[in-house]
Symmetry: C2
Subunit: 190 residues, 2 copies
């Protein structure tokens, strides 16, 4: 179904987020799927891999995540610029057709009852580590990564290949108000 989807060793899953991309957060609960954009997502630990994500209490995604205890963090691409902006600016609370209008197509993976977004470069399936104080005081959620995958056209052998892949695969880095930067040139410190 997805010939380029390749598993990523959990010990290297942090590399999918280490360069600070804006992400998509997807959730499923009680028959409802949703996807939102989030710039405030960050690796937290290597092994087992953990991450943080900030989810405003007004979001439907947060309600679903608190209901199911599971979510997907995925890395959208330059080709998904409009999709990313749309799912970040519209709420499922206001528009039940949000995902279709933004052009989101979902797919399933075995053993994970979660909605994965087609066309992303990487996916991290997470289980919520409940920290009620962080969630209430800071809107801060901690997830343990229990599965990781990438599109082998842009990430393989534990490394991103932005410098050789089609530029449409580059990650998005939101600043504010729909202004993004794509990731750029590769550099190696001596």
């Amino acid at each position: 179904m997805h010939p380029h989807l390749a598993p990523v060793d959990l010990a290297k899953a942090y590399r999918l987020l280490n360069h600070g991309p804006t992400v998509l957060v997807s959730t499923r609960h009680a028959g409802v799927d949703n996807v939102m954009a989030a710039a405030w997502c960050c690796a937290l630990d290597f092994a087992p891999p953990k991450l943080t994500v900030v989810l405003d209490e007004a979001t439907r995604t947060r309600e679903l995540l608190e209901g199911s205890g599971r979510f997907v963090i995925q890395v959208p691409t330059v080709a998904q610029l409009r999709l990313t902006e749309q799912v970040g600016n519209h709420s499922l609370k206001d528009d039940p057709d949000k995902l279709a209008k933004a052009g989101v197509e979902l797919f399933d993976l075995p053993d994970h009852d979660l909605p994965f977004v087609q066309g992303c470069s990487a996916w991290l399936a997470c289980e919520l580590i409940a920290e009620p104080h962080n969630q209430a005081a800071y809107d801060l959620f901690i997830g343990q990564v229990v599965g990781a995958w990438a599109d082998d056209r842009v990430f393989s052998d534990g490394r991103w290949h932005f410098e050789t892949a089609d530029p449409a695969w580059r990650s998005l880095h939101h600043v504010a108000g729909g202004h993004f930067y794509a990731i750029g040139e590769a550099l190696k410190a001596e």
Copy 2:
């Protein structure tokens, strides 16, 4: 002393980190200054601005930060690639000459008893919001941003200008093992 250093409105301070750069963390306590690199730093709130940063318990920076309750998060540039790699790979515990060897030059700002790193593109002075459980369980530290500045050659009017500034000003985004990407092309979602 620093003719291009311009204050950043605290309401827009999150924009200095929103695109996910690798940062430098600097601290001062009991007469000791230190600087380390950290890829796991993320905005947490808009007003008052807050951020998170992950600091391994083996680091001298963490000891100093826990001592003083204050730190600076700053955004290094492509011109500081070697410096960033060096302060990330060497500990003051092993080498008292670490900062000099890495080429770090520090400067002071009025009313902030903190060491600021010359040549960065942005600086956020932070006060620790003590959260002992997060610090012990996750190495996760929360700071409230109490002052923000940027070099007006690359950030002004509340916006980054990577697309028009000299490429040496671009932010660094670490993946692993000294492999970085610079931030790249500007994109605007319609």
